[in-house]
């Protein structure tokens, strides 16, 4: 991969790298190191007193039933969002890939939700599902469903999952469509001539060919559900009722910002960093490059 022809300049490459490396050092490595350092400390809110406690903060969070419950919430939430964002996207992309009239128009009309911020998606869905204001919320109440996401764990989770998945479908749609379009027509037509039904053709030929895309999207959607849905939860439920929508990221925020507990918040950050590193490794084994800005 090395270029054979390159410039030989002593200072220039360093100068060119300087802004990126400076920001990386100050805002990535320093905070990451701080997180590791703080995770071994117990400190008051003002940073006036601190003591070194080894791994006590880790012990504290891992033995906290509420932390374990937020792991559970995160898993349920992420898997639901991923499934709900991928399955309809696959269906829509298969449909849009057909040579039907207006395919481009459909495409345009299906990709824009990507541009909607997660927090705004939350507000949009809230406006629909609010028990006394929203169209569907009122409908549910009217037909006798005790719909009140502010005091029902499952309903609250459902609402944040819907709002989070909705916006991600566009993204998955685009990737599936790109994947589908890279499948040679001749392969499909050969199968059609063999007399295989459309459904059968899809599952035996198209879907396996899409599997790299699907795997990639699985990872991307999990990462999205993990990290980018903070805004959705913050806007909709603030982690409640109880702690039923408190995901790991939400908890890092609450412990660090609201509870001013730098030690346990940092310990959680370190745990999450290890998780992301592991995830990245796995991903690299299967796919060469990665996903996050």
């Amino acid at each position: 991969m090395r270029k054979r022809v390159i410039f030989n300049d002593k200072a220039l490459p360093y100068l060119l790298l300087l802004p990126q490396v400076a920001i990386t050092l100050i805002f990535f490595f320093w905070p990451a190191a701080q997180a590791v350092y703080f995770s071994t400390q117990i400190q008051d809110a003002f940073g006036l007193r601190s003591q070194f406690v080894w791994f006590e903060n880790f012990g504290a969070i891992l033995s906290d039933p509420n932390y374990l419950s937020s792991i559970r919430v995160t898993v349920v939430f992420s898997v639901s969002v991923t499934v709900l964002a991928i399955a309809p996207a696959l269906l829509l992309s298969v449909m849009a890939d057909k040579q039907i009239r207006g395919a481009t128009t459909y495409k345009t009309l299906l990709i824009w939700p990507y541009a909607v911020a997660p927090a705004i998606a939350a507000v949009l869905w809230l406006f629909i599902f609010h028990p006394s204001v929203g169209l569907l919320g009122r409908f549910l109440v009217a037909i006798g469903v005790p719909w009140d996401y502010a005091l029902n764990d499952a309903q609250a989770l459902l609402l944040v999952v819907l709002a989070s998945a909705w916006k991600q479908i566009s993204y998955n749609f685009l990737f599936f469509l790109a994947g589908l379009q890279s499948i040679p027509r001749s392969v499909l037509e050969a199968a059609a001539i063999d007399g295989a039904s459309q459904t059968r053709r899809f599952w035996t030929i198209v879907f396996p060919l899409l599997s790299p895309t699907t795997f990639f999207l699985l990872v991307v959607n999990l990462v999205y559900a993990f990290f980018d849905t903070f805004g959705t939860i913050h806007a909709l439920t603030r982690g409640g009722p109880g702690t039923s929508t408190t995901t790991l990221i939400y908890r890092v925020y609450v412990d660090g910002r609201d509870n001013l507990n730098l030690g346990t918040s940092s310990a959680q950050s370190v745990v999450l960093m290890l998780f992301v590193i592991a995830l990245t490794m796995i991903q690299f084994r299967y796919i060469e490059r990665r996903v996050h800005y």
Partner: protein, 449 residues
């Protein structure tokens, strides 16, 4: 004879001189930064108070800056302190008191400010309930009392009439609340017979005070950081059970954490609500049929648990003096002068009238009484009377628990689980205590010197 031109010239000259001397006065004035956390319209009224101080003298200039709600203001102040440029004054909500008090070195206690600057600030001028909340165990004032409120009851007189209840008689006890709620429900007078805002402040903090039971050991934490919660007492469990029962039979609706529950009263949906006395202005402005339809009452109590309920405790915020590496004596002096200004009876009583907060000085309360404001505005005296009734005990002085905002969230979380039927009142209460104590121990450890 003056030509037009020379008039213009001289006007310009006068303007320049004025501007120059204005700038000099500005430069000579000692500048003080004041971060506050009150949204509109209260924030605007607060800025008027500050403007009044700035206009009253020409040595000091206080610059108020809105920093978001209380929690945001607190986080911002802590971040600023860590970076070495804390504001001179920060307005901190009452549940942040323990955190601030433990931050020796970051804050300057008000009694020390008074000694250092020679500006007299007399603790005896304040209502005992207010003073106690912000004083160290030895009685020395730690922060400057400012906007204080307490929780009271509001009810909708029209709904009461519709349900065949006496519109001039607010329910006094929880038994009466339940009976009224039952009637409102059977008469279908309102969809929500009883609602509450500030679930912990009303049903735990104030509840414990007026029933003379401890919220926590060590004088509710005021006598030491090693306090433990006591909110799983039979009375607390029974009260939670009552709310759960009411929730189940449809006479009570949990409306969310903090003040989220307030909306249903002004919309006319709720017949009775317990919330802050500071809610008065909104209730009178927005409730259908107001002001005639809005009635006020004392916080209800269980008459079989206590014969005469004790004083309730305050909420709201106080003003803390923060330190910074290069802070001068003159600046502290300016802060002290500003504090003296806001506690003047006429400022205090006007603040109370304009905002619905209670007067914090005895003289201010006296002025309100004399000015007939209380008589002409029914219900305005309830908060002060409720705050000052009876003889305060260790259980009704106030509370000082570390990480109290976090404990409030824990209590609300466990209440929510109980209201969903996921746990019994007893389980919920025990969970509150276990989890809350853990938070208290963390705080104790982090703040041990």
């Amino acid at each position: 004879m003056l030509s037009r031109r020379s008039i213009l010239q001289s006007t310009a000259a006068i303007g320049a001189v004025a501007a120059f001397s204005g700038a000099r006065a500005q430069a000579q004035r000692t500048q003080v930064t004041f971060w506050y956390g009150l949204g509109q319209p209260l924030g605007g009224i607060l800025e008027q108070v500050v403007a009044g101080f700035n206009a009253s003298q020409n040595q000091y200039q206080v610059n108020p800056v809105f920093r978001g709600q209380y929690p945001e203001t607190m986080v911002a102040a802590i971040a600023a302190f860590r970076a070495g440029n804390a504001p001179h004054i920060v307005q901190m909500f009452e549940v942040g008191t323990a955190t601030m008090m433990a931050a020796r070195g970051a804050v300057m206690p008000v009694h020390q400010l008074a000694t250092d600057t020679g500006v007299a600030i007399d603790p005896a001028a304040y209502l005992p309930g207010v003073r106690g909340y912000y004083s160290a165990p030895d009685g020395k004032l730690m922060s400057m009392p400012f906007n204080s409120s307490t929780s009271i009851l509001y009810y909708n007189k029209e709904t009461f009439r519709k349900a065949g209840l006496n519109p001039d008689q607010p329910p006094k006890t929880w038994r009466e609340v339940r009976e009224a709620a039952q009637k409102i429900k059977s008469a279908n007078a309102a969809p929500i017979p009883y609602a509450t805002a500030w679930p912990t402040w009303v049903h735990y903090e104030n509840f414990s005070a007026i029933h003379n039971v401890p919220l926590a050991t060590k004088v509710n934490g005021m006598a030491g950081m090693d306090a433990e919660l006591r909110i799983n007492s039979p009375l607390h469990v029974r009260h939670l059970q009552m709310l759960m029962d009411m929730q189940k039979d449809g006479t009570f609706k949990y409306g969310g954490r903090d003040n989220a529950g307030e909306a249903v009263f002004v919309s006319g949906e709720a017949a009775i609500i317990t919330t802050s006395s500071g809610y008065r202005a909104r209730a009178l402005r927005e409730t259908p049929g107001a002001p005639a339809s809005v009635g006020f009452g004392y916080l209800p109590y269980h008459d079989d648990a206590v014969q005469a309920p004790l004083n309730s405790i305050i909420g709201g915020a106080s003003l803390w003096v923060m330190t910074a590496p290069n802070r001068t004596k003159e600046e502290y002096k300016a802060v002290a002068e500003f504090f003296r200004h806001v506690s003047r009876p006429e400022i205090d009583s006007k603040w109370s009238q304009d905002t619905g907060y209670v007067p914090i000085t005895l003289a201010g309360a006296e002025r309100l009484k004399e000015s007939k404001f209380w008589q002409e505005n029914p219900g305005t005296d309830i908060p002060t009377l409720q705050l000052t009734r009876g003889t305060a005990t260790d259980n009704s002085l106030g509370l000082r628990l570390g990480n109290m905002p976090q404990i409030r969230v824990i209590i609300q979380e466990e209440m929510e689980r109980a209201f969903q039927g996921q746990q019994t009142a007893e389980q919920a209460s025990n969970a509150m205590v276990t989890r809350g104590n853990q938070v208290l121990r963390e705080f104790e450890r982090a703040n041990r010197s």
